[in-house]
Symmetry: C7
Subunit: 90 residues, 7 copies
């Protein structure tokens, strides 16, 4: 069973320990926009206004309170809009 996001939506999966790894990425933000590191699972087709700039497998920073949580066959995903993805981490 798979999730195919529509329009400018992206399905991501949180990666672990993103706030504890010492030499990794530790995130702190304003109350308004706290980012989290996630891995892109599925990418929507985009719209006439929004071009999709991420691809499956990308590690991304997303705004913490954006999107909708979905649990599918035991795994948790978040469906976010393209504009809620701040950056790709390489």
């Amino acid at each position: 069973m798979t999730i195919k996001p529509l329009q400018d939506r992206v399905v991501v999966k949180m990666t672990e320990a993103e706030e504890t790894t010492k030499s990794g990425i530790i995130l702190s933000g304003s109350a308004k926009e706290k980012p989290e590191v996630a891995e892109v699972v599925e990418v929507g087709p985009g719209t006439s206004d929004v071009k999709m700039e991420v691809k499956k497998g990308d590690k991304v920073l997303i705004s913490k309170y954006s999107g909708t949580n979905v649990k599918l066959e035991g795994e948790e995903f978040i469906i976010v809009k393209m504009e809620d993805i701040l950056a790709i981490v390489k």
Copy 2:
């Protein structure tokens, strides 16, 4: 008696047990946008701005508090806008 949705609206029917099936989809979201699984019954023609990306029979994730409930000949439907459909589940 049938419902023909206008513009970018979609008529959906909730599918059952979407929160209890063990290996199925269990949904939990923010207070702002709780998704639900539904089956598409009728699709509007779209508008010049909005292209319809679902078809009759698709299983979809919709935002929980979006749309309008309608009971027609004993069956319950929800009329949502295309933008309230987050993803297709296959």
Copy 3:
């Protein structure tokens, strides 16, 4: 005496018993958008942005708190915008 709606407005007349008929349509909605069944009486010309998708005689579902009530020669009408008409019922 007739009402000729302007722009993207539509004059509708409520049909009866839309919440009591057993095998008919029984409506229940969120507090935000409660639909009602109505019959289209007059249709405005539309605008450059809005194409009119209903015609005189159509049975339609409208949002309950939308529009303006008008009593003309003893009969009650509601003037709604095209976007407040959710679907055509056949």
Copy 4:
């Protein structure tokens, strides 16, 4: 002394007894938008976005709390925007 409305504005004059005439028009609306019957006195030139769809002498339904009251040489007028005129009554 005359008033020449600018852009998409229309000068109207309220007609009398619009809520008491038995076989005439009796208006009741939501708290948000109560219509009134008025006669068009002057019509602005319109804008690139708004085409004027009424002419001098038209009887119109306007939203009750829209517009600005003006008293000119003893007579009262209301200056409304084109979008506040709901319909022409014939």
Copy 5:
């Protein structure tokens, strides 16, 4: 010393006794938009969206709480936007 308004702004000067002259203009409006009679002193160049429809010397009705008061060499002016001018009085 002169004021040259920018974009779609207009410099006006209030005319006197606009609420007391018996056979003249007496203004009463809603709390939201109370008009006043003023004389146009300077007109900005307009923008690609807004065409200036008044000229120096025009008597105009403006919304009472719109604009910014400016005192220049003892004289008081108001700088308003074109959209705050409701009509020209002739």
Copy 6:
């Protein structure tokens, strides 16, 4: 050290005594938009939507609470948007 404003921003420097000079400009405005006299120091390139209508050295009226204060090498500047400049004073 210089400040080069981006997009439709303008760097201005307040001129003195703008509220006390007797035959000069005395400003009083609504609570919402109190203007001040300033001298233009640097002008941004503008955007596709906004054309810059002031140049270095212009005396301008700006909205009092608009913009951001910056102190650079002991001198105070304000960075405002083009739309916050009401008029040029000559």
Copy 7:
């Protein structure tokens, strides 16, 4: 490990002592928009609406409460939108 900002986002790094250096830049702003001096680290590709006007290495003034803080391998960055960058300091 690097951060590649998307759309019209820019990754910046705060420079030090920006409020204490005597002959440098001392910033004070309104509660709404307090600027800070920062150095540009990475620049996104821009969008069809927004052209990127800064480049790697530029010293810029940004709005204090804009953007999202990110700590990457011990270093702190802020991801801001192009529109939150007020000016380039040279």
